[in-house]
Symmetry: C2
């Protein structure tokens, strides 16, 4: 492997000049730059990351802490990961994986060994064990998810509360008097992750504001309980019923179940799908969807962390960023009845 010393020799300049050509940290005459660049090209020189990290005290690597057992709602965890890795590269950084299997020791390890300059934590819980550790970590950390005690931390997530409100607004605008949310499966929430509560909070708040009767039942993969939820929703409805759900299996079955009961989606009943992969789902089932934009969340997390690393080094900055969901209306929302 050629070193910058080899490049310097080949170009007939000093090693420091090679370094400055690469970093652009000081003006270089056109002539010597050409020489150096030619030598770099010719030798296919690539700087040694370890040496660079040692000398500059920066690794240009970001640690990404992933859950070992992805909870359901994350949809495609791998999509988050891939977007994060790709965005990192756009900022000239690489991603080091840390599984949360390692626990908080893992965080201390990768930071302590100076394997990375900052961290992104996924699947952040309401009262996350890792928060006290992170607070004294000396490197910037971005949370994906909003813990209950977030002061002093940098957090990014989809705006679940807004999604809940938007959902009800859609129903209200379509003239519904009542609606049923067939929510996440109980395992998904488990009081650890708080996005379920955030969504429901937004939904109930907006229901009150819109004077719409809202009820909520937990989601499920089994058909009998979905049917029960539907029948409940129909019985409770004063006028055409409306359903919203973040669970794909529920959304897959809803149209058929409703048709079985003589209700035509888009005419006699509204359905909204909420989630992370809603585009194709919504197109296929002709549903109005509220997408939680996981790619945007991922991208912003990286951008935020890179910003922290850019200006001033070290510490955390308080930051709370909620990505607005994207509503896509399709024809399964019933037309507003004339009063």
């Amino acid at each position: 492997m050629p070193t910058s010393k080899d490049v310097a020799a080949a170009a007939g300049v000093s090693q420091s000049t090679v370094s400055y050509v690469m970093s652009g940290k000081r003006p270089i005459s056109e002539k010597t730059r050409k020489k150096v660049e030619a030598a770099i090209e010719q030798l296919t020189y690539q700087p040694n990351a370890g040496a660079r990290a040692l000398a500059s005290r920066r690794t240009n690597v970001l640690g990404l802490v992933i859950p070992l057992t992805p909870d359901a709602h994350v949809g495609s965890l791998s999509e988050f990961i891939a977007v994060i890795a790709a965005t990192a590269r756009q900022h000239d950084r690489d991603i080091l994986l840390v599984t949360d299997e390692e626990g908080t020791e893992g965080l201390q390890r990768v930071v302590g060994q100076q394997l990375c300059d900052g961290l992104i934590l996924m699947q952040v819980e309401a009262d996350d064990d890792r928060i006290p550790v992170v607070r004294k970590l000396r490197v910037p950390v971005v949370f994906i998810g909003i813990p209950n005690e977030a002061e002093g931390l940098s957090c990014i997530d989809a705006d679940f509360a807004l999604a809940g409100r938007q959902c009800i607004e859609e129903f209200a605008a379509a003239g519904h008097q009542g609606a049923t949310v067939i929510g996440w499966r109980p395992e998904s929430g488990d009081r650890k992750l708080n996005f379920v509560d955030r969504f429901l909070g937004g939904a109930f708040e907006q229901a009150e504001a819109s004077g719409l009767a809202l009820s909520h039942v937990s989601g499920s993969a089994d058909i009998a309980s979905i049917e029960a939820a539907v029948d409940g929703g129909i019985a409770a409805a004063d006028g055409p019923p409306a359903f919203a759900s973040p669970e794909e299996p529920v959304l897959e079955m809803l149209p058929r179940i409703l048709l079985d009961r003589g209700l035509k989606p888009g005419v006699d009943v509204s359905i909204i799908g909420v989630g992370t992969q809603t585009k194709s789902l919504g197109e296929r089932l002709r549903l109005t969807t509220i997408d939680l934009e996981p790619r945007t969340v991922s991208r912003r997390a990286v951008e935020l962390l890179c910003n922290f690393l850019k200006d001033g080094d070290g510490g955390q900055r308080q930051h709370l960023e909620l990505i607005p969901p994207v509503v896509t209306q399709r024809d399964s929302t019933i037309p507003s009845p004339t009063h």
Copy 2:
């Protein structure tokens, strides 16, 4: 951050002794080891990864090249990733992510910058662009997937051919004279990934050996074409029909479709599910399943790479490892009829 120099001072020994205590590369008296370990503990010393890499010419990092757009069959790409990262830790190594968006330059970059000691490539295609690049890479590389030209390469994958054979063996043992494979969706194969052909190759080979009439249709998510495939299978069957499929939506629908036609799974018809997450699926639908063991594949990929790194450094070694699928019989396989 404390350095090994600080530890040495605190323990009253030389820096090299600290190093040897940590690496165990030479005998240390019990007494000084205690002193050093106490100092390490007390200062919460952690070795600087960059310095270590620079001096030892090893990063203890493995590069993992992931597809940016996961093809369907991978099931849970994130499961692969998490298992790989966790296994790497068990071997005292970390994982650096590389997206294949970077293309072959990405491989040359992470190796050239000496960010990692070896690579694992996922989603390897039959005639993969990356192979010629990998061949001259000077670090060990493990492929997950079997390219057509594999000489000199280290490849690991599920044994799709065996899965195909096992599938037919099950049907033959249950007394079927014919069977239908409702295969992968055309997008999955696309002649790039060759696991589809490997599976079908094994299945047809075994069908011939068992004197069983086998037909194959492509999978699909849409219900009409699945029904068509089922009807075709029923019509062609000389005796009770049998179906196998690797597509979850197909498997979800098969029992209902068959019941609609008066065929009771496990009594009048056999179904086998093939795939990567078959445990819960099989239990829920009472299917016999053939699991392709993605976790084992992932784990072995890491172990293999770590072995290459252990003894002798550098180059590739030829290696081909096919992970046998796990067959789990459940009561949807019809009992062998008495002849």
